[in-house]
């Protein structure tokens, strides 16, 4: 299998421009003949499907949801970055590039990240043209806010529903292409295998989720925009049905999985309340623009709060530790996610947690309410406003900015965050790892491409806030529609792929066998129960802090669990019908392999970087200790049932100097 990054030559800032002008094109008459399968209809897949349709390719797009609009991109709250420099605060393409490389702890490819920063500006223009109602200032121009790990305001947003609005923009463009007949939509269809012919990806086996029938679909290229695998942890901020199966099926066919252990634990989520918990809810990072994170200074106060004898309001100002502001004065509450999450864990490990489980810290808006209240009173000429009035005005400002998030918090916890400080704790949110891709976003399997969260390409070991939407749309609208031409231009002589050929028949039979095997186990435990157990192992041994001993133990436990799964799972219902339990079981089966690979990758990486924190590798004050001399590589894993094989892509930094990341 080829394994080259295929980064074009030239100056960093000129690479993409030059490459774009020199790459092979596919003529319109040939585009009409070339078929492309896209799996997933989120920001990456939806945008790609729409754009490919506009370009004239024959597109088939697949989603397991009932509608393309339900993809989990819809849940992104905070915003999307773009180097527009509308705020005149010194932003530039280079700065966005630099922030992303540094934020990723120097574990991503320079050329890919620079290209991302370049096309970021086009995304905003495109979304505005589609009618996306971004937040605006009184003059009618676009508004920005700030996100973690960054000292400029470059984040565009649509209240706390930016992902929803951007996805609906892509969905509407996709709907237009469906109505024009350029794109064929297969909703409620799940990819259950990748079909290979002559060493190339030539199609997929899909299961019609309404009837349970398997179907064979051929194409000249297959694109996976199927999102991340954070649900391997069972509890995460991902939607319940988000899964890693499409990508994992590709891995089983020879595609390499890159940096699987790089997981983002988001610092501000609503804490776990009990065993029955099915998922965790994110409170947008944008809240850290105005919220201050703290725990009590003394363990006695923390214990009193945990036992319900005191509340956060009873702790005097001088008895609070605003630990992010104390430890990281330059960035304060807006340090990157990995740093903020670890600091919360440290505080709770020291016995300072503030929820009954001991796993929560405060996110407090009181100072912001006071500040905004005074400012609003001033602008209303209310110079003698009393405390109550100031509070009222301040609350109104906070409500304008974050109203829907505060409402969501109150619905879930039953506590009013305008009065009581929010309780938050880190939770699994995003996976930086994913299918290995080259500069063209092609995996090492010819004809198989991966976009958005499904690939590993742009975020290194830690993703900055508001960059997931940027990357998904960049890949879908502005990168893959060009780069896929490098492959498809070689395919113009190949006829339409025959889905009745032997490779397709064999793949379909194999998929059916796998399903039969699952259904026939007829054991005693639900897929959900196995998933929950897997999640606990992952969180314990491959979560916010990892060590070699734990990772070895975790790997062994997963193997045992996998064995038990294949001998004792119970899947109710029948194959040829609408059967959500069977869907779940197939996904859990894949997670049980992927989880093992994550442990293995974390064990191989004897350093701490970004979201990957190995306890053995930390500085005296507990900060991550990166080891560039030995680990400045992308780990690309070739799956094998007994011992997966590691391939390394060295990362070469020609434009940035590798420094210890400091937000102090």
């Amino acid at each position: 299998m080829p394994f080259q990054s295929n980064v074009p030559p030239g100056e960093l800032s000129e690479k993409w421009k030059q490459y774009r002008s020199s790459m092979p094109l596919v003529a319109p008459n040939n585009k009409r003949r070339l078929e492309v399968i896209i799996v997933g209809t989120g920001l990456a897949g939806g945008a790609a499907a729409a754009t490919f349709g506009e370009l004239g390719y024959k597109v088939k797009v697949f989603t397991f949801h009932d509608s393309p609009r339900r993809a989990h991109s819809i849940a992104a709250q905070g915003g999307i970055n773009a180097a527009k420099n509308y705020q005149n605060d010194g932003d530039s393409i280079y700065r966005l590039f630099y922030d992303t490389i540094k934020g990723g702890d120097y574990r991503s490819r320079e050329a890919n990240v620079h290209r991302l920063a370049e096309v970021s500006v086009n995304i905003i223009d495109q979304a505005v043209a589609q009618g996306v109602p971004f937040a605006r200032e009184y003059g009618g121009l676009l508004s920005n806010r700030s996100f973690g790990g960054v000292q400029v305001s470059r984040t565009f947003y649509a209240r706390g529903q930016t992902g929803q609005q951007l996805l609906l923009g892509a969905y509407q463009s996709l709907s237009r292409q469906i109505s024009l007949g350029n794109v064929q939509l297969f909703n409620r269809h799940e990819m259950i295998d990748l079909v290979m012919e002559d060493g190339k990806a030539r199609g997929i086996i899909a299961r019609n989720l309404l009837t349970g029938e398997t179907e064979r679909h051929g194409a000249h290229a297959v694109v996976l925009g199927t999102g991340g695998y954070g649900n391997v942890f069972y509890l995460s901020t991902n939607a319940m049905n988000s899964n890693g199966s499409a990508a994992w099926r590709a891995v089983k066919q020879g595609a390499y999985m890159a940096n699987p252990c790089f997981t983002q634990i988001h610092p501000t989520c609503i804490p776990v309340s009990g065993e029955y918990q099915s998922k965790l809810t994110l409170m947008s990072e944008s809240l850290r623009n105005d919220g201050r994170v703290w725990v009590p200074k003394s363990q006695e106060d923390a214990a009193a709060i945990r036992e319900g004898r005191k509340t956060g309001l009873d702790i005097a100002e001088q008895d609070r530790d605003y630990y992010l502001e104390r430890r990281y004065p330059a960035f304060g509450n807006l340090v990157p996610r990995d740093v903020a999450s670890r600091a919360a864990k440290t505080a709770c490990d020291e016995g300072l947690g503030v929820s009954p489980t001991g796993l929560a810290v405060y996110l407090d808006f009181d100072a912001a309410i006071q500040r905004y209240g005074k400012s609003r009173a001033h602008s209303l000429n209310e110079y003698n406003a009393d405390d109550l009035r100031i509070r009222e005005l301040g609350v109104a400002v906070i409500e304008e900015k974050y109203g829907n998030l505060f409402e969501m918090y109150e619905k879930i916890t039953g506590e009013d965050p305008y009065v009581m400080p929010m309780k938050i704790y880190p939770a699994v949110h995003y996976t930086m790892g994913g299918l290995w891709v080259d500069y063209n976003l092609q995996t090492n399997v010819p004809g198989l491409f991966a976009i958005g969260e499904a690939n590993f390409s742009d975020h290194g070991a830690n993703r900055l806030g508001a960059s997931a939407l940027m990357q998904g749309l960049a890949d879908g609208y502005f990168v893959l529609p060009y780069t896929i031409g490098t492959y498809l231009s070689q395919e113009i002589r190949n006829p339409v792929v025959d889905p009745d050929g032997p490779a397709f028949r064999a793949a379909e039979a194999k998929s059916q066998e796998r399903i039969d095997r699952l259904m026939n186990i007829n054991g005693t435990k639900s897929a959900e129960a196995f998933h929950r157990e897997l999640g606990k192992i992952m969180w314990e041994y491959c979560g916010m802090a990892r060590n070699a001993e734990g990772l070895r133990k975790g790997r062994k436990m997963i193997r045992e669990l996998r064995q038990e799964f294949w001998s004792n799972v119970y899947v109710p219902g029948r194959i040829k019908e609408y059967n959500p339990e069977l869907e779940k079981a197939l996904r859990v089966a894949d997670f049980l392999e992927l989880g093992e690979l994550m442990m293995l990758d974390a064990l191989d990486r004897n350093e701490s970087c970004g979201g990957h924190f190995r306890e053995e590798y930390q500085s005296e004050d507990g900060e991550a200790l990166r080891r560039d001399d030995e680990y400045a590589y992308v780990s690309a894993w070739e799956w094998d049932d007994t011992e997966p094989v590691l391939h390394k892509e060295e990362l070469i930094f020609e434009n940035v100097e590798l420094k210890t990341r400091s937000y102090k």
Binding site: P133, N187, Y578, P580
Partner: protein
């Protein structure tokens, strides 16, 4: 309350119940911090452990934004709380000993798949009929080239916030989807980019709405009351104005 006991009357259809009927279940050990769907998870886990057929219900994000969940709870789409999807409803709003009735959306245009799951493809086809702005990737001018007044952008957003769940249809005695259509028409008509196609859009979307078998709007406004995003019937009014104006003043009627 740590240990509530509930009686559940749940609509089952498909498999053992071809005609569809209510089946009663008893569930104890319900915690008031649970979400409504977590309560159903607990019931399903019990059914699976007894090797019985679990109840099919659709859900995904469980954060109130994807629009997948679709339960009529005690007669109310998404349950008794205002501006709350079923997945965001928590058990603290129920009491020990309560009987809770759970049904699917009921509308001819939303055929039942199984139990509480319905098929909402008709909504996608309405959007495909015209719920977009015809702009290809790469054609856009600078995002700040067209200023949009803050309040107007905000009103457009109020309509765009629709999650496409279908509660408006489930709430309407006529099973009309006018709030869904009105929200999209109103969103796109209130931004300058969307004005170009406004006339043909409203005509095409309404034609598709009718073809799907949704009923007519008779201004009952139950849709607004039940909409989990609080979308106002003002948007239906805007749709009506647009529709009438486009019928009288333009040659671009549906074609």
């Amino acid at each position: 309350m740590e240990n509530m006991k509930l009686k559940l009357r749940i609509w089952r259809q498909g498999g053992k119940f071809p005609q569809g009927k209510f089946v009663d279940y008893e569930l104890d050990g319900v915690n008031d911090h649970m979400s409504f769907l977590e309560m159903l998870d607990v019931l399903n886990e019990k059914l699976i452990n007894k090797k019985e057929d679990p109840i099919a219900f659709e859900h995904d994000c469980r954060e109130g934004i994807c629009g997948t969940c679709s339960l009529v709870i005690n007669g109310y789409p998404h349950g008794p709380m205002q501006q709350t999807t079923a997945c965001q409803l928590h058990m603290r709003h129920f009491r020990d000993g309560d009987t809770i009735t759970i049904e699917p959306w009921r509308s001819r245009a939303f055929p039942i798949v199984k139990d509480l799951v319905v098929n909402r493809d008709s909504f996608d086809r309405i959007i495909q009929a015209g719920g977009f702005i015809s702009v290809d990737t790469g054609q856009a001018q600078d995002g700040n080239a067209i200023p949009i007044e803050k309040d107007q952008a905000s009103h457009a957003f109020d309509a765009a916030t629709c999650i496409g769940c279908g509660a408006c249809v489930a709430a309407c005695p006529n099973a009309s989807a006018m709030l869904f259509v009105g929200a999209k028409v109103s969103h796109l008509a209130q931004v300058p980019q969307g004005k170009v196609e406004a006339d043909s859009r409203v005509q095409r979307m309404i034609a598709q709405h009718d073809a799907e078998g949704f009923g007519r709007c008779s201004n009952i406004t139950a849709c607004e009351a039940e909409c989990p995003k609080g979308i106002s019937v003002e948007h239906i009014a805007r749709l009506n104005r647009q529709y009438i104006a486009s019928t009288l003043g333009s040659e671009k009627v549906a074609n």
